[in-house]
Amino acid sequence: MGLVLLFVGLNQSWALVLGIINLSLISAIMALGVNIQWGYAGLFNVGIMGFAALGGVSVVLISQQPVTEAIDVGGLKMLFALALGAITIVTGVVLNKKGFNKWLIATIVVIGYLFTRHYFSEAADVIEKVDPAITGYLGGFGLPVAFSWIVGGLAAAGAAWWIGKITLSLRTDYLAIATLGISEIIIYVVKNEDWFVRGVKNVAGLPRPVPYEVDMQKSEWLQNIVAWIYSSDLELLAQSEQVAQLSAYVRGASVIFVKLCYSGLFVLILVALIMLSNLALNSPWGRKVRAIRDNEVAASAMGKNITRQHLQIFVIGSAIVGVAGALLVTYDGIFIPTAYVPLRFTFLIWVMVILGGSGNNLGSVLGAFIIWFMWIQSGPMGVWAVDMISSFAQEGNASLEFIEDRVHYLRLVFMGTILLLIMRFSPGGILPEKNKEL
């Protein structure tokens, strides 16, 4: 793997390599979360995308400055509408518990809903009218972005708890279907509720946990280091060219430096999570988890406890996915709801986990690196292959243009095939979990 990355670095660019590494690291964290769910408990999460998006939303809500004007005109109204909605739900649940007539409850809930919807759309309207080209939403809390990672984890955990509570005591495929549903709905909400996180207008310019390139280029020590590294190259040039060349080198170096900062951060978080999860697995709790996973008889004898334990595992795994989702948006510096597609977020992560060896944390990390690399490179490779063919065919061949246009869809086929091949011929993955027979 290292060699392959080295090859790309020499042939394409180092910034690209670091980009691949950083996204691999984020994917690895996400895969870790899914691996905990799938590998430890056989829980089938088909809604990874939704949990990652919750992390992304948290970044916006935590780190953006509040839009005071929007809050002034619509903040209270929105709060009132949401409170009304909450009251309606709580009333419904409480009345239901007390055994009131179902029709009465339904009527109350519907009336409550209608009022909520009325105030809600009013509030959303006024908020979205506030300078829509730049804001048009409530903004966030203006807190340091690092908070959002925790909040993202918590948000994902909350959603997971709710879904898990409903489905985990039922059939395994109900969980799969429910997670698929909730993740699509989360994306719909994010795309459509402009007052919330600006919908498809995106939120750009998210604050960073690491320095900006522009600032780095001004810093003395980076200039000195770059000058020292490239001193032999620079000496060959004329005095006037040296300055221009140096600043070009510094620009490149600043990009790499910033990416390295991210890499360090992500590695730190990944290692911490792996250590934590290994620690947990070797605790009494973890031994119980493994016993249930590896021994179905023991598992069925434990009945209700399994459901509770599966809920814990599902919440923990989803929280990690949420953290990874927040890290991803932090790294991108922009929140783009339309970027959330199941292929990229749910399916690729699945392939990573299964390729790496379900149940094995290091396997997931390895799987993340391999699959992300293949994913990134399969785009250019496809185009390159088409170019190769077209150089033999005559110019302007209609069918070739057609293929060039659509070749990226073949990545779906490619990844699907990889998944099926691993399942069929190497079900344990690259690093099979050793402790199956406890």
Binding site: F44, L180, G181, N192
Partner: protein, 344 residues
């Protein structure tokens, strides 16, 4: 518009914008849900590739339709798509049998935990199928309807009845409801009365005993895929005729289809149909804007100003989901007592 209360026109309106659309959408969902039910009963897994398989079947229909129209082989009044459906079914069958041979059969042989493995494998198949469809047809929405668009149009209806509010019966709606009805009738006859159909039910009931009775599992599975291919292709083609074709939309049909299956009780064909109409009517009723309807019914002073729409259309998939969650909370076995509640 009159200011008096006008019940007939109000219900004509509702028929045109709620009843007919919900009936045809429900029929399309029902066919898809039956396909999922069949796969579940015989192969014992929830087929996540159903939506994309429908896109695959529709893709063949679209390609053949283009070919037929290009050659001028059309019949006046009938959508060309209808003529090519039988060939498309054959194409989809070949695709599904190939997938079964390459993917699913192995797990039957090794007696894997079919549900879990089946879901994982079907997700792989889902992406492969989706990729193939998008590669061949692209991801942009398209329509492939030709021929007469209406059985009777709003204008004809108004002229005939003298009502202010017209009802139009689209050809696609008429075809959907008729074909779905015939297909379902055939399917039930097949399962209840024929020897092969009974063998399928026996296999679904008790695999080992079916083996001991000399029922050949490979043959049962093959026939299942043939039926699934027919249901899938027809459901996809009818949906496309009605609402246009877009791969992503077909992919997402998985949600209402699964909701239908679970609401009805997983593994129960009757339940799948009932569930499909429950989902389709909820979706249409909740996303319909009742403003005009209320204007017909209420005196002038009470006319609503807003759209009176319960849920925005952008959230129609959320409705399936809410129905799904509600059923899981209240009655996990579904309306028609589905098979297994606790996972295998």
């Amino acid at each position: 518009m009159s200011d008096s209360i006008d019940i007939i026109n109000a219900f004509a309106l509702l028929t045109n914008f709620v009843l007919l659309p919900a009936l045809s959408y429900g029929s399309q969902l029902a066919l898809g849900a039956l396909a999922v039910t069949l796969v579940y009963s015989i192969l014992r897994f929830s087929n996540f590739a159903q939506g994309d398989s429908m896109a695959f079947g529709t893709m063949i229909v679209i390609l053949l339709t283009g070919f037929m129209i290009g050659n001028g082989w059309t019949v006046t009044g009938i959508p060309t798509a209808l003529l090519v459906i039988p060939i498309a079914i054959i194409g989809t069958s070949i695709y599904m049998l190939t997938i079964d041979r390459l993917v699913y059969r192995h797990y039957r042989r090794i007696k894997a935990k079919q549900n879990i493995v089946g879901i994982t494998a079907s997700i792989g198949v889902m992406f492969i199928t989706g990729g193939i469809v998008r590669f061949i047809l692209g991801a942009t929405p398209q329509r492939f309807e030709d021929g007469e668009r209406f059985i009777f149009s709003v204008r004809e209806f108004k002229a005939f009845t003298g009502l202010e509010q017209g009802i139009a019966l689209k050809t696609s709606q008429f075809l959907t409801i008729t074909i779905a009805f015939l297909l379902v009738a055939f399917l039930f006859y097949f399962l209840q009365k024929t020897k092969t159909g009974k063998a399928m039910r026996a296999y679904s009931d008790n695999q080992e005993l079916a083996l001991l009775s000399g029922i050949d599992p490979d043959k049962v599975v093959q026939i299942t895929w043939l039926l699934v291919a027919a249901l899938t292709t027809i459901a996809g083609a009818l949906y496309g005729l009605d609402k246009g074709f877009a791969p992503q939309q077909y992919h997402l049909l998985l949600l209402p289809i699964f909701a239908s299956v679970i609401v009805g009780g997983i593994g129960s064909p009757l339940g799948a149909i009932a569930g499909a109409f429950l989902v389709s009517f909820s979706e249409v009723l909740l996303t319909y804007a009742y403003k005009k309807f209320l204007i017909y019914l209420l005196p002038l002073s009470m006319h609503p100003k807003s759209l009176v729409q319960l849920i925005g259309t952008e959230y129609k998939y959320a409705i399936s989901f809410v129905i799904l969650v509600t059923v899981l909370l209240i009655r996990p076995t579904g309306l028609f007592k589905g098979k297994v509640i606790v996972g295998e």
